[in-house]
């Protein structure tokens, strides 16, 4: 075998794709944006992306339901969008950087929008961040419980 310049071999489990993907699902309270989620949420994310244009934001604000009907979205996704249920939207294949277009259009900051996924009020969440954030202790692995 010829030597590969700079190679240090497979990094961690990254040589075994099945194990690699399984581990991405092993983090509590986290939906890693895998290929599977990217496929599922394709049009959800493309819809969100459309809100980067002021003209589209105006139409969305004027009639959210009518704007959603222009997109190939399931009723589940439409409901979750209208309810701004971001955890549900993550389950439906949404990615936070795309969904940011929705909450930015609502005039929410990242901190305000992100707090809605944690079960805390904005005030509680901000207090946690100001005190140093959430500790990784106990929330690293579902299976490992550490």
């Amino acid at each position: 075998m010829s030597e590969i310049k700079g190679s240090v071999g497979p990094v961690g489990n990254q040589g075994d794709i099945a194990e690699y993907l399984a581990e991405l699902e092993d983090i509590p309270g986290t939906r890693v944006y895998t290929a599977a989620r990217a496929r599922k949420g394709y049009w959800l994310n493309q819809f969100a992306m459309s809100l980067m244009k002021e003209e589209n934001r105006r139409r969305w604000r004027a009639d959210e339901k009518a704007y959603l009907d222009e997109w190939q979205l399931s009723d589940d996704i439409k409901q979750a969008l209208l309810a701004r249920d971001y955890n549900r939207l993550l389950d439906l294949g949404g990615n936070i950087y795309f969904l940011a277009k929705v909450f930015s259009t609502d005039g929410l900051s990242f901190l305000q929008a992100v707090s809605t996924m944690t079960g805390m009020s904005v005030t509680e969440y901000k207090a946690m961040m100001d005190a140093g954030g959430r500790s990784p202790e106990g929330v690293r692995s579902i299976k490992g419980g550490y």
Partner: protein, 280 residues
């Protein structure tokens, strides 16, 4: 000959852009952050780099869900600030360096890094916030910029090792450019943060600081950190730190620490930045 004279690692948190744009940098909340960048702002005034290779990620601004380049290099003449949902930032256009950009793109491809080449795009907070942190609010940015965008959003993202190797190839590419240019490379993003789900708000100061330690001197232990470790230890968006390894790889075998700074929090995120120079 062009050469890479320094590397900077820095967070690129959107709220820092808001603070600059709205004149809030002296507010109590922001003072500990911006004061950490004062040293760097003075230093870069003396260094006067000609070009910055600015490694960042696009946050669903220039690239939608359709096309997902792993590594993309900008060869355009200029780039406008993106409208990320609240209107474009009031910052100057970013001026490119197409001659060096194309030289690096060609060299990288011949060095077996098959880059995506971008001629026209808007650049989001990932690229413009670090410029604001280093240069404040000038009429025009005092440097040319070669954007280098990395996919750190859709998995699998490039491995840390691959990022490091890309950095090494960038160093070779820059050093084969005949014009005398002072080039810096910046790796941006991070540090620990998670912007999604019930675990949002995760911060790991101990891990972040160990990561910064690992950028200094001859250590190369950061290059083999697997994705799952970034995710578990630093939150889902902490993976952005692989981009710092492109910067580190481009500095060669050994680095010297010039400045480092770390603060929690800014919005949902740990702010960190480090200034390194190659030891040759």
């Amino acid at each position: 000959m062009a050469r890479i004279t320094a590397g900077v690692g820095s967070s690129h948190i959107p709220l820092l852009g808001v603070a600059v744009d709205q004149g809030k940098t002296k507010d109590d909340y922001f003072t500990p952050i911006f004061s950490g960048y004062e040293w760097t702002k003075e230093w870069i005034k003396g260094e006067k780099p000609d070009v910055i290779i600015l490694v960042y990620n696009d946050h669903a601004s220039a690239f939608d869900a359709n096309i997902i380049p792993a590594f993309a290099i900008g060869t355009g003449e200029r780039y406008k600030p993106a409208d990320e949902g609240w209107g474009p930032r009031p910052v100057p256009d970013v001026i490119g360096e197409p001659d060096l950009g194309w030289h690096i793109a060609q060299s990288l491809i011949l060095d077996e890094f098959d880059m995506t080449i971008i001629n026209e795009m808007d650049v989001d907070h990932g690229l413009t916030v670090p410029l604001s942190m280093m240069f404040g609010q000038p009429e025009a940015w005092p440097v040319k910029v070669i954007p280098l965008a990395v996919n750190v959003v859709t998995y699998p993202v490039p491995t840390g090792n691959r990022c490091w190797m890309l950095g090494e190839a960038i160093k070779r590419a820059v050093e084969s450019y005949p014009e005398d240019l002072n080039v810096q490379i910046w790796g941006t993003g991070g540090m620990s943060h998670q912007l999604q789900g019930p675990r949002a708000g995760l911060i790991n100061a101990e891990w972040d600081n160990a990561f910064m330690d690992g950028l200094i001197g001859t250590s190369d232990r950061n290059r083999t950190i697997p994705h799952i470790e970034y995710l578990r230890e630093t939150g889902s968006e902490g993976i952005e730190m692989v981009m710092w390894l492109i910067m580190r790889g481009a500095l060669g075998a050994e680095t010297r620490l010039l400045h480092r700074h770390y603060h929690v929090p800014c919005s949902n995120t740990a702010v960190g930045h480090i200034v390194l120079e190659p030891v040759s």
